[in-house]
C-alpha cells in the first residue's frame, strides 16, 4: 500500500501548493553503533561464489560524511544445513570478502561477527527470485508524456513470495526501492514502472533517450520484507503528515554479549536477477 500513501502525500502537497523548505533542526544523538551490511546476493546464472560484507559505524544524523569503516573484525558465515563454514577476510578497510561461497536455495545461513570483543549473530534463509518476463518503456503510466521503464515478472502460484526491487538511474544518486509481497497478486504477472519526476531543488530530470537505469530484483524472506517495508517507508516519508510515526528499525543481527549495544543493518541471503535498460 506504499502507492496509496504516496498518492495521498502528492494530493496533500499539490493542494493549494503548500510550501516546503529546508530548515535547521536540532536532533538527539544516540550512541554510535556497528552497522552490518551483509548482503549475500546470488545472481541467477552465476556461481555466486564471490561475496562481500561491509562493516561500518553509524554517525550523528547531520554529520554528512562517509560512515567510518570497521577494521579488524572477524566475519564468518555458516550453512546451517550442510555445516560448511565460510570465512570472510578483510580487504580494503571495512570490506570483508570471500570467493568460495556456496549458495543453495532454501538453505539456512548464520552470520557471526566479532567486533571489539562482542559477538553479533544473525540467521537467514536463501529464497528464490522470479525472472523478469518483460522490460519495456512507455509514457502513459504515472505522469503523462514522461518516460518510464516497466518491469514485469510472473509470480508463482500458491506459494507466498516476497520481493525487493531496486531502480537506480546510472550516474544518479537518486534511486527507487520497492517491497512487494504477493498477497494481492498471487500467481499473476505483475508490472511495476519507474519514472523520474522533475525536481529543480534536487536537480532531478526526467528520463531521456540514451539514459540507462539499473534494475535489481531479489527474492527475500518474510522477515527481511518486514524490515525493508519499514526501512523504505521511513526513507521515503519519515515525518511527513500522512506517514506513520517513525520508529526504530531493528535488523536481525543480535549482540550476544551486550544486548543493549544493538547493531544496525541486516544479514540477508537472496537470489537476484539484474538488468540494465537503455531508453530509446
Amino acid at each position: 500500500m506504499k502507492t496509496i500513501h504516496l498518492y495521498l502525500i502528492l494530493a496533500f502537497v499539490t493542494l493549494l501548493g503548500s510550501c516546503t523548505d529546508v530548515i535547521e533542526v536540532d536532533v538527539p544523538e544516540a550512541p554510535i553503533r556497528l552497522v552490518v551490511e551483509a548482503s549475500l546476493d546470488w545472481e541467477q546464472g552465476t556461481p555466486g561464489n564471490e561475496q562481500s560484507i561491509q562493516l561500518r559505524t553509524s554517525t550523528p544524523y547531520f554529520e554528512n560524511q562517509d560512515n567510518p569503516p570497521v577494521s579488524g573484525a572477524s566475519v564468518e558465515v555458516m550453512n546451517l544445513d550442510t555445516g560448511e563454514t565460510f570465512i570472510f577476510t578483510e580487504g580494503t578497510p571495512g570490506n570483508y570478502s570471500i570467493d568460495t561461497f556456496v549458495p543453495i536455495l532454501g538453505n539456512r545461513y548464520q552470520l557471526d561477527v566479532v567486533y571489539e570483543g562482542e559477538r553479533y549473530r544473525a540467521t537467514e534463509t536463501l529464497f528464490p527470485v522470479s525472472p523478469f518476463t518483460e522490460i519495456s518503456q512507455s509514457t502513459e503510466e504515472g505522469e503523462d508524456d514522461v518516460l518510464e521503464v516497466n518491469v514485469s515478472f510472473q509470480d508463482p502460484e500458491t506459494v507466498a513470495n516476497w520481493y525487493y526491487l531496486r531502480f537506480q538511474a546510472r550516474g544518479d544518486l537518486l534511486l527507487e526501492l520497492y517491497y512487494i509481497e504477493d498477497e494481492f497478486i498471487d500467481g499473476n504477472e505483475f508490472t511495476i514502472f519507474y519514472e523520474k519526476i522533475e525536481d529543480e531543488d534536487q536537480n532531478i530530470q526526467e528520463f531521456q533517450p540514451g539514459d540507462v537505469v539499473d534494475i535489481q530484483f531479489y527474492g527475500i524472506s518474510e522477515d527481511y520484507y518486514n524490515y525493508l517495508q519499514l526501512l523504505i517507508d521511513q526513507f521515503d516519508s519519515a515525518g511527513e503528515p500522512f506517514s506513520a510515526t517513525p520508529v526504530p528499525l531493528v535488523g536481525n543481527c543480535i549482540n550476544l554479549d551486550n544486548p543493549d549495544n544493538i547493531a544496525y543493518g541486516y544479514f540477508r541471503v537472496t537470489e537476484k536477477t539484474t538488468a540494465a535498460y537503455t531508453f530509446n
Binding site: 494530493a11 562517509d66 505522469e143
Partner: protein, 798 residues
C-alpha cells in the same frame, strides 16, 4: 465484579433519596406552565433560552426543540423569557391551572448574521447549573472569526476554546483535553459523522449556513450520550424559516454556498435546503494543473407539526470529496446521513423524542496504473427514544434508550480490468450492536446547591457472520526476546462464527455526576465526575488521521476503551455579567487505548490484532477562559496548561511493550495553548475581528543517528514522540462591511475581507527527514501549509 455491584447499590440508594427529596412536603397545589420558544422573525425554535419566575429561584432552560416546562405552587407570578441577542419577554401569569404558553422572541438587531443566532443562551458563565466542561459557540460568533480563504469553519472555531486543539493546518479532526480524534462523538442532527473534514482537513463538513447551534461537551458528558470517551460535539441544523421564504448564500475564493428555506404546508412546517460546492478543481484545471481536488455537500431539513403535541422532523446530510491525480488515481469519500424524528408531548411535563437515524461513511480509491479499485465503509442505523420529565421545579429527569446497529467493511479490492494483476479480495465484514439505557436527574437540593446525577448502562455485542483467526496461546503477536521486537504470529486455525453467534459481549456501567454550589450572586464552584465507554475505534498509526483509516469494533482482540474524568471548576461573572471567568482543572484516564507496534501495517489487513497492543492513556490540565460578553468589543482569552500521555505494555504478547513500556507523549499533547479572539463593532457598517493563537509544537520523533545501507542514508529513531515541532503561532484579522441597508429592502449583503496568518509565519505542519539526491547530504524539510492568505467573501440574504 464486587466493586461494580457495590457501586450499583450505592447508586440505588442515591436514587432512592433523590426521589424522597422531591416529594411535595406541603399540601399546596402545584401547577405547570409549558410551551415552545421561537424566533419571531423566522420561527426557528430557540434551544437554551431561560425561562424563570421573577423573584424566585424557579427557572428552566429550553431543550433542543425549544420546549420548556415550569412547575410552581399556585399563585401570581411574573414570567421572564430571555435569550442572548433577543429582547426579554415578560408576562404576568396567574398560575391557578396548568397552562400552555408559546412565546416568540424578537432579535435585538437585524444584522445579517445575527438573525440566525440561536446558540445556547449564555456564552458567559452559567452559575447555577451543574453543567461544566461545556463549550457553546454562537454561530454568529463563529461567523465573525477571521478564517482561512473565507470559509467559515465550525471545527476550526472550536480550537480557540480552552482544551481543544488540532494537529495543525490541513489535518482532519480535533482533539479535546488530550484525546484522539476518534474519541469525539460528532453528531449532526443526532447522526454520527465519522469524518469531520473536507479536503484532508482544510475545511469542515459543516456548512455554517445550515447550522443552528453547536455544543461541545469536553467532560461531564450527559448520560444521554454514549459511545466515545473524550467529547461530544452536538451540532444541530436549522429547521428552516417558518415565516417566509428566504435565501442566504455566499461567494468565496474556494467555494460558494446557497441555502433556501421557507414555510411548508401553510404554517404547519418549514424546510431548509443548503448546498455548498468548491470550485478548486476548476481553478486547478485553469491553472494547468493536472491534479484536481474538490468537495461539495448538501444539507436538508423539513419539519411538520401534527397538532399541538406532535412534530415530525426529517433531516439529511450528504457530502463528498474528490481527488484526481493525473487521471491515474481517483479518490472519493464522504459522509451521508438521514434522520427521522418524532417529537411528542405527552403532557405539560413530559416531553419525548423518537429518532431513527442512518449514517454512512465510505472511502473509494481507483488506481488506474494498477487497474484496481478499493472501497471501505462504515454504516449504522440508530434507533433512540429520549424522554424528559419535568417533575417539579426542583427535579427533572431525563431517561431513554438507544440502540445502534453497525456494519463495518474494512476494505475490498477489485480488479478493474481483465488484464489487472490484482486478485479480488474482501476483508471480513464486521457486525455489532451497541445499546444503551440511561437515566439522569437534575436536582435542586437547595437555593445554592444543585446536583446532576445519572447513570448509563451500555451494552455492546460483536456479532458473528465472519471467521476469526486462532493463535497459539491466544497470542496474535509475540515479543522476540533476542531481537527485541514484536513479531506477528501465524494463526493456528480459524473459528467460524455464524450470523446468529456472538463473538463477544461487553456491559459497562457509566455513572455521571456533577454538583454546582453557588457561592454568591456572581460566583460558583462545580465538581464533576463521569465514566464513559467506547466500543468502536479508528485504526490509525499516522500523525494525522487520513480518510482511508478504517473503524474497527471491539471484540475478541480489542477491548472497549473506558475513561474516568474528574473536573473541578470555579465560575464568576463580573460587572453585571459584562465579564466572566471560567477556570477548570481536570484529570482523565482511559483504559484499553490501543497503540500500534513498530512497523505496523494497517491498510488492507484482515488481522489487525497482529499489529496492536493494549495500553492506557491519561491527560490532565488547567483551563482558563476570560470573556468580555457585552459592548462594542467582545471576545475572550483562553489558556490551557496540559499533559497527555500514554503507555502500552506488552501484555499477553510479552516483553516491555511499546517505547520500552515507558509513558510517552500522545501526538495530542500541547503543554501551552493560548488563544485570543476579539470582535469589535466600529459602526453600523463596519466591524472588525481578530484571532491570535500560540501553541506548543506537536510531539514528533526525530532521527538520532544515520548509517549507510543499500547505498542510501538510513535514519535511526529513538523513543516515540520525544521531540517537538517548533511552536505554532499566528494572527488573523478580518473586516466586515455591510453597505447601507434600508429596513424595507429584502436583499442584504456583506463583504468579508480576512487575512489569515497576517505575519506570514511558516508554521511547520510536519518536518520530514531525508537525503538530498543532488548532494547526498541529509536534510530536514519543513512543510508549511498556509502562509499569509488574504481572501474576500460576499454573503447575502434575500
Amino acid at each position: 465484579m464486587t466493586t461494580t455491584s457495590k457501586s450499583i447499590k450505592r447508586w440505588h440508594i442515591l436514587f432512592f433519596f433523590a426521589f424522597l427529596g422531591v416529594q411535595p412536603l406541603s399540601a399546596q397545589q402545584n401547577f405547570t406552565v409549558s410551551g415552545t420558544l421561537t424566533d419571531q422573525q423566522n420561527g426557528e425554535t430557540l434551544f437554551g433560552s431561560t425561562v424563570f419566575l421573577k423573584g424566585t429561584t424557579i427557572g428552566v432552560v429550553t431543550n433542543e426543540y425549544g420546549f420548556y416546562s415550569l412547575t410552581a405552587p399556585a399563585g401570581k407570578y411574573t414570567l421572564v423569557f430571555s435569550y442572548l441577542g433577543y429582547q426579554d419577554v415578560i408576562r404576568d401569569i396567574d398560575l391557578n391551572q396548568n397552562q400552555k404558553l408559546d412565546i416568540e422572541l424578537q432579535s435585538t438587531s437585524y444584522q445579517l448574521t445575527e438573525v440566525e443566532v440561536t446558540a445556547e443562551e449564555p456564552e458567559r458563565a452559567i452559575l447555577r447549573k451543574p453543567e461544566m466542561s461545556v463549550s457553546k459557540l454562537n454561530i454568529s460568533t463563529v461567523k465573525q472569526m477571521p478564517v482561512v480563504l473565507g470559509e467559515v469553519d465550525v471545527i476550526k472555531s472550536l480550537q480557540v476554546l480552552p482544551g481543544v486543539t488540532a494537529n495543525g493546518e490541513g489535518s482532519a479532526g480535533f482533539h479535546v483535553r488530550g484525546g484522539a480524534a476518534d474519541q469525539n462523538l460528532v453528531l449532526l442532527d443526532e447522526a454520527i459523522i465519522y469524518n469531520t473534514s473536507h479536503l484532508l482537513g482544510f475545511f469542515s463538513v459543516f456548512n455554517a449556513d445550515a447550522v443552528k447551534d453547536l455544543k461541545l461537551y469536553k467532560g461531564g458528558i450527559p448520560a444521554r450520550f454514549g459511545g466515545r470517551v473524550s467529547s461530544v460535539l452536538d451540532v444541530r441544523q436549522k429547521d428552516g424559516n417558518r415565516k417566509n421564504f428566504a435565501l442566504t448564500g455566499g461567494i468565496g475564493v474556494i467555494s460558494s454556498r446557497l441555502a433556501a428555506e421557507g414555510p411548508l404546508f401553510g404554517d404547519k412546517g418549514s424546510f431548509l435546503v443548503a448546498g455548498r460546492s468548491s470550485y478548486l478543481d476548476v481553478l486547478l484545471k485553469l491553472a494547468g494543473e493536472k491534479n484536481t481536488a474538490g468537495f461539495y455537500d448538501l444539507n436538508l431539513k423539513a419539519n411538520y407539526e401534527l397538532g399541538e403535541k406532535n412534530r415530525l422532523f426529517l433531516s439529511g446530510y450528504f457530502g463528498r470529496d474528490n481527488f484526481n491525480l493525473e487521471d491515474s488515481f481517483n479518490s472519493s469519500y464522504g459522509n451521508a446521513s438521514g434522520n427521522l424524528r418524532w417529537n411528542h408531548i405527552f403532557n405539560d411535563r413530559l416531553f419525548s423524542n423518537l429518532s431513527l437515524i442512518y449514517s454512512n461513511y465510505d472511502y473509494n480509491l481507483d488506481i488506474d496504473d494498477f487497474e484496481l479499485d478499493w472501497e471501505s465503509s462504515i454504516r449504522n442505523f440508530n434507533l433512540k427514544y429520549d424522554l424528559k420529565y419535568y417533575l417539579s421545579d426542583a427535579f427533572k429527569l431525563d431517561f431513554g434508550v438507544s440502540t445502534i446497529s453497525y456494519l463495518f467493511n474494512p476494505g475490498e479490492i477489485r480488479p478493474t480490468s481483465e488484464t489487472s494483476s490484482v486478485n479480488p479480495l474482501k476483508l471480513d465484514e464486521k457486525r455489532a450492536l451497541e445499546s444503551g439505557v440511561y437515566v439522569n436527574a437534575e436536582h435542586k437540593l437547595s437555593d445554592r446547591l444543585t446536583a446532576q446525577y445519572g447513570i448509563r448502562l451500555s451494552h455492546f455485542m460483536r456479532l458473528g457472520g465472519q471467521s476469526l483467526s486462532v493463535y497459539e496461546n491466544n497470542q496474535p503477536l509475540v515479543y522476540d526476546e533476542t531481537r527485541r521486537i514484536y513479531l506477528r504470529t501465524e494463526p493456528i486455525g480459524e473459528t467460524a462464527f455464524a450470523k446468529s453467534d456472538r463473538i463477544a459481549t461487553f456491559l459497562n456501567w457509566e455513572p455521571r455526576a456533577a454538583l454546582a454550589y453557588q457561592l454568591n450572586d456572581n460566583s460558583s464552584i462545580k465538581l464533576g465526575y463521569s465514566r464513559a465507554a467506547q466500543y468502536i475505534h479508528l485504526l490509525s498509526n499516522t500523525a494525522s488521521v487520513t480518510p482511508l483509516d478504517v473503524w474497527a469494533p471491539s471484540g475478541k482482540f480489542i477491548e472497549p476503551q473506558l475513561s474516568n474524568q474528574y473536573a473541578l471548576g470555579y465560575f464568576r461573572n463580573f460587572k453585571d455579567k459584562m465579564y466572566s471567568l471560567e477556570m477548570e482543572v481536570y484529570y482523565k484516564d482511559v483504559d484499553n487505548r490501543i497503540d500500534y507496534i513498530d512497523g505496523s501495517d494497517l491498510i488492507g489487513n484482515n488481522t489487525i490484532e497482529t499489529e496492536i497492543l493494549n495500553g492506557e492513556s491519561r491527560a490532565y490540565g488547567l483551563e482558563f477562559l476570560f470573556r468580555k460578553n457585552e459592548g462594542p468589543l467582545t471576545g475572550w482569552l483562553a489558556y490551557t496548561l496540559s499533559k497527555s500521555e500514554q503507555r502500552t505494555p506488552g501484555g499477553i504478547a510479552g516483553g516491555p511493550g511499546i517505547n520500552d513500556g515507558a509513558w510517552y507523549n500522545t501526538p495530542f499533547d500541547r503543554t501551552h495553548d493560548f488563544s485570543m479572539t476579539a470582535a469589535y463593532r466600529l459602526s453600523d457598517k463596519w466591524s472588525l475581528g481578530a484571532n491570535a493563537i500560540f501553541q506548543t509544537g506537536r510531539p514528533v520523533t526525530y532521527p538520532n543517528g544515520q548509517y549507510e545501507y543499500e547505498g542510501i542514508s538510513i535514519a535511526s529513531f529513538g523513543l516515540r514522540n520525544a521531540d517537538r515541532l517548533p511552536a505554532y503561532h499566528r494572527l488573523d484579522v478580518s473586516a466586515t462591511y455591510r453597505p447601507n441597508r434600508r429596513p424595507d429592502k429584502r436583499w442584504k449583503g456583506e463583504w468579508v475581507l480576512s487575512v489569515y496568518n497576517l505575519y506570514n509565519r511558516k508554521n511547520a505542519a510536519a518536518i520530514s527527514f531525508g537525503q538530498n539526491f543532488e548532494t547526498g547530504a541529509n536534510e530536514a524539510t519543513r512543510t508549511a501549509i498556509f502562509g499569509i492568505v488574504p481572501s474576500l467573501t460576499y454573503n447575502f440574504k434575500f
